[in-house]
Amino acid sequence: MNWKTFGAMLARDAHVARRNAIQLFLQTFLQPLLFVFVFGRVMVGSGYMPAMYKSLLLPGIIAISMVFTGIWAVAMPLISEFQFTREIEDRLLAPIGVRWIAIEKVIAGMLQALVAGLIVIPMAWLVLRPGVDISMHAPLTFVAVIVLVATFSACGGLALGCSINQQHIGLMFGMVITPMIFFGCTYYPWSALKTFPILQKVVLINPLVYASEGMRATLVPQSPHLSIIAVLVALLFFDALLLLVGLRQFEKKAVS
């Protein structure tokens, strides 16, 4: 393991992220904030939604923002760098094992997802206020949840980015990302699916469910949520699975 090389690659990703900060910012936060405004303010304010919906919505919005920042930050560059522009090659030729280049991408994606989470919490809170009732009763569990969510998003980005061709990006959004969001218990708690018992079981294969429910369990414990132990175990499982799949796919792409 060559830490200098690893550090230089992280520095490169940080440099590029800084350069694209405004674009990243709009891309990451505009949609969730509009969503928060429409559903949290307009719908609640006009009486179509109960006031407590605000507190249910916020954890889901944090989960979406983090997960899609991480997936986007890792998958999109990999898709183009591996296929059309081949930009990744100067890093593949750096004096470090090929796996470490993938792990560097995961770390960079995790950091971006964490930053996204830390920015969206106060922003969404500002938009939703007053009436949103979040509390930090178990800070260590919260940290564990956001780190596992960030890891899941970055590993998911690695697995997707190394498995999808450039011409299938649209398909990825239609077939993977959209169902993941709508069946990810982001805009409603998992318990709300109890009138659809089969669907309620099926959505458990969606890792975003655990991200949203984990946020709910640690930020708005008074609302219904999955058990925090189940959330942590499931997130660990998905982190490990996606990392293994991602590394395998990365190596397949990197060496012919």
Binding site: A8, T85, E87, E89, G97, I164, A254, S256
Partner: protein, 358 residues
């Protein structure tokens, strides 16, 4: 201490279509349908053994698809050989990748610059990947930008660069960590003559600093001008090896006269063979049986009732009157004559029965 390069019986069979020929630049295409379709095996290297001595400029010459880029891919850790071994200095390329990557610099066939960075940042970050100290890498980047006439564009993103500028920057990048062995895959493809000469100068200068250079080309002029030794490869194995002069001297006679007749007889071939100075006579029909493409060409030719004959001789133009006489005597109508002086092109033709440009 200069570092050599060696391969031993290298074989590579691609399980799907081989990646686009860019060395250093081997990206397998994600083949989603691969599982359903029977996999086509494409042999790219077929037992290639090479030795590049420390501190020489070595050329791999061959037509497109000969296996040049795959060879560079294997030597630069980007292609996993099906069997055989490769070494850079004392390091096994496949087993000691990180050490090998420190020793090599790679200029790919197609530029693969980091589009998220400016020209100068590309150089500086590249050196940082190799652990080069901040001051050294900044100074070196400025010096290389100057040398490659890119100083004015140093702080621009490279997306809008012309092909020649991208190529120059790729070479500068490969030199940033001062590698012992520099690989250049088709370095002058697509360059204007002026830039090509600048490139040749830079390669020679780098070689004079005691470095080893391995380049691939299908340009005879380049191989002749630049390389101390050459391997000619075709269909994944070496067919000739030596200095350009040695290789050219190995062609019988040196001169090649490509003749075409309206019709020809066995008698004509024998009488051509008997002319003073003629070393070898080949009817194209027999010489080119090896390759499917050439056979197809021959079929077309015989349909038109034209026949080609290659004559290797130690004189050129002075043979023409005698050949014309012979043709008149045997009733063969001479329809085309082309004379070429000793060249690597002729050598390739001699060994494979087809032109490098085919």
């Amino acid at each position: 201490m200069a570092v050599g390069v060696r391969t031993q019986d290298l074989r590579k069979v691609y399980q799907s279509s081989p990646p686009l020929g860019a060395a250093g630049g081997f990206i397998a295409r994600g083949d989603a349908k691969g599982g359903k379709q029977p996999k086509a095996e494409v042999p790219a290297l077929n037992g290639l053994s090479l030795e590049v001595f420390p501190g020489e400029i070595f050329g791999l010459l061959g037509p497109n698809g000969a296996g040049k880029s795959t060879t560079v891919g294997v030597l630069t850790t980007r292609v996993r050989p099906t069997s055989g071994q490769a070494w850079i200095g004392g390091h096994d390329v496949w087993k000691e990748q990180a050490q090998v990557k420190r020793l090599i610099g790679v200029v790919p066939q197609r530029p693969n610059l980091d589009f998220s960075l400016t020209a100068r940042e590309i150089l500086v970050f590249h050196a940082a990947y190799f652990g080069i100290a901040s001051k050294v890498r900044n100074d070196r980047a400025d010096a290389l930008l100057e040398k490659f006439k890119l100083t004015e564009r140093a702080h621009q993103m490279t997306r809008g660069f012309s092909g020649g500028m991208m190529q120059r920057l790729s070479i500068a990048r490969a030199m940033m960590h001062d590698p012992e062995v520099l690989f250049l895959d088709e370095p002058s493809a697509g360059l204007d003559p002026q830039t090509r000469i600048l490139l040749w100068e830079i390669i020679r200068e780098y070689h004079q600093a005691g470095k080893t250079v391995l380049l691939t080309t299908h340009n005879m002029e380049e191989a002749d001008a630049l390389c101390q030794r050459l391997a000619i490869i075709d269909h994944g194995h070496g067919i000739a090896l030596g200095t350009p002069a040695e290789l050219k001297a190995s062609i019988p006679g040196g001169y090649l006269l490509r003749l075409r007749f309206g019709n020809q007889s066995a008698d004509l071939l024998q009488r051509l063979q008997a002319l003073a100075g003629v070393r070898e006579v080949r009817s194209l029909d027999s010489a080119a049986k090896g390759t499917a493409e050439s056979s197809a060409q021959n079929a077309t030719k015989s349909e038109q009732n034209h026949a080609g004959v290659d004559v290797y001789a130690d004189r050129g133009g002075s043979l023409i009157p005698e050949i014309a006489n012979l043709a008149a005597q045997t009733g063969a109508e001479l329809s085309d004559v082309h004379i070429s002086e000793p060249s690597l092109e002729n050598l390739f033709l001699h060994h494979t029965g087809r032109s490098l440009r085919d």
